[in-house]
């Protein structure tokens, strides 16, 4: 098993939502892969399709409106799209784990934290009694929850936001998944707590070689945590590259606009460069590039035809008619 093998390959993923007023193409042709031990970042704003991508991988797309209409999601060669829900249950919580923005909805308020972590542990190992208790305490210590013996008997509502997230990570670790999907894991947390959680995730990656898909709108988190990044806009992956190239050598107008619009700590400017216009209306997309109405470089072709994927360097792909001239 080579260290850099591809463990997840997503090919031409299309996840659409069928509503009475039209079809929302939440993910429209997603192509990417994830290697062992890699930290993949998916960045995008509301409506970009980043969360739906993770739900698609886990086959948790809300029915009946949502459906994966096309594409393959190959986890170690097995196509997850073709699996039944029963088969997916074997994968979820085992090989694939997800932590989301609000742990309050993932943690069961009626059971103690220790109980829930114990449940996660027992999926992997048949431990009981004293051994189980020890393992639970160990898992809590790994995520730096102090006074773990007493904390194990606490209920979720007695924990702060940061501690809840750490409990979720602890559960994730207990399952020892190969892929951990973290959907906006720190968005609801304070800055100093966010730093703690991210440090923890870095430790996990190093120790367990877990691959992590980190979904967020926060470019700072992406810059510090990810190896490789996908930028999504209105269901399409508009640019992808390794993290350095994405920040220093990006070529897509949206990526440029996004990064340039951020206030940079330590570099006070008079005015921020902003992207004009409004977020896309997913029900009324033209057949062309969805970013066209807000793009400073658009030409007529952009509103008519969606640009093909082209390579701008090693591992650097993007879709834009005019990237060479910008």
């Amino acid at each position: 098993m080579s260290q850099n093998e591809k463990i997840l390959e997503v090919k031409n993923l299309k996840t659409y939502f069928f509503t009475n007023v039209g079809v929302v193409k939440a993910v429209d042709g997603g192509n990417f892969h994830l290697r062992k031990g890699q930290a993949l970042g998916i960045v995008g704003e509301s409506g970009s399709g980043k969360s739906v991508t993770s739900l698609s991988i886990l086959r948790l797309v809300p029915k009946p409106a949502g459906r994966i209409v096309e594409g393959e999601i190959l986890y170690r060669g097995e196509d997850l799209v073709k699996k039944s829900q029963k088969e997916m249950r074997e994968y979820r919580g085992n090989k694939l784990f997800m932590i989301s923005q609000d742990p309050m909805t993932s943690l069961n308020p009626v059971f103690t934290i220790g109980n829930q972590i114990g449940e996660a542990i027992r999926r992997r190992k048949k431990l009981t009694g004293h051994d189980l208790k020890e393992k639970i305490v160990e898992m809590l210590k790994v995520v730096h929850i102090r006074a773990s013996e007493t904390r194990a008997h606490a209920y979720p509502h007695q924990f702060s936001g940061g501690m809840k997230q750490r409990s979720m990570i602890s559960m994730a670790l207990a399952c020892q998944p190969e892929i951990l999907i973290a959907d906006e894991p720190t968005t609801a947390l304070d800055v100093t707590i966010q730093a703690q959680i991210l440090k923890l995730m870095v430790e996990i990656r190093e120790q367990y070689h877990t691959s992590i898909i980190l979904i967020t709108h926060d470019l700072g988190v992406i810059a510090r945590f990810c190896d490789y990044v996908l930028v999504m806009y209105a269901g399409k992956i508009v640019e992808r590259a390794d993290v350095k190239t994405l920040f220093k050598g990006n070529r897509h107008p949206y990526t440029k606009g996004l990064i340039n619009s951020l206030p940079h700590l330590g570099k006070k400017q008079r005015r921020l460069e902003s992207i004009k216009g409004q977020p896309p209306d997913l029900l009324n997309l033209s057949g062309g590039c969805p970013f066209e109405p807000r793009c400073d470089y658009s030409v007529e072709r952009c509103s008519v035809e969606y640009p093909p994927v082209e390579s701008a360097g090693k591992g650097h792909l993007l879709s834009c008619w005019r990237w060479r001239e910008i």
Binding site: S46, D190, T192, A223, P263, L265, R271, L272, S274
Partner: protein, 324 residues
Amino acid sequence: MKGESILKVNNLKKYFSMGKEGIFSGKARMVKAVDGIDFSLYKGQTFGLVGESGCGKTTTGRCILKLYGITDGEILFQGKNIHSFEGKERMQYRRAVQAVFQDPYGSLNPRMRVGEFIEEPMLVHGIFNSSDRKKRVEELLGVVGLSSDHSSRYPHEFSGGQRQRICIARALSLNPKLVILDEPVSALDVSIRAQILNLLMDLQEEFGLTYLFISHDLSVVEHISDFVAVMYLAKIVEMAPCEMIFKNPLHPYTNALLSAILVPDPELVQDAIILEGDVADPHGLEKGCLFRNRCFNATDECMEKEAELIEVEPNHKVACLRVA
């Protein structure tokens, strides 16, 4: 550099009573949301109030807006105590101090047309007749970058960024002197934030507005503020002109806060000071510095004595025994 003082806060305290200490106790459990803070706002300036959740920054804003009464201290508007206002003075204060809040979805009444919403403050204060009000609404919509035919629409037809513009238009309708901005861009998409921040800064210049900018996002605060105060657990721990705080932070909490910010630059080597534990519960920290259990610099003295906010260099105040 300092112009006229618009607002002065002296030893402001706001305590909330939540339930009882114990089941049988007669004493109410006090949550000290704001525990003795002082600062001044000067005309045309932006004062940034930063801190994490529970530090008291939002409560401070709400006290200034008279949405809460205060437990102790005073708030002076142009020299007069705002709680001593009667009748006409009260209404004048309402004209002079406005707000923009974080949630663009909760800030607009879903059953009111946008034009009616922007017009309401004028209607309430009895200024202008109906047709002049309509004209002013159109004017305001233009000022915030929306079109006049938006005034007959309902909020659900607008995006988050547009809703914030509508809120800003309403806030401006009475030509206020001071606008309290409580996390005005935190709930917006990243690509929209810059638009709104630019708009706020342009409006400040054009109309000579004073802003109290409350936020947890330090990069944004650095960009927009002239003066900054850092709050932790109901107190101000450091206060200085913007550049000074960001270039030369003195309080350990400010340092930790700044180092925790993730700069969107993958090549920058950052040594984050990772604070242990969560934002503390002040219960159990009766004596001494409230930050001591997370502070990497704490000494025995910090356990006993609480630090006062002292000016350690011109305009730069810090509340830390190790720094003084």
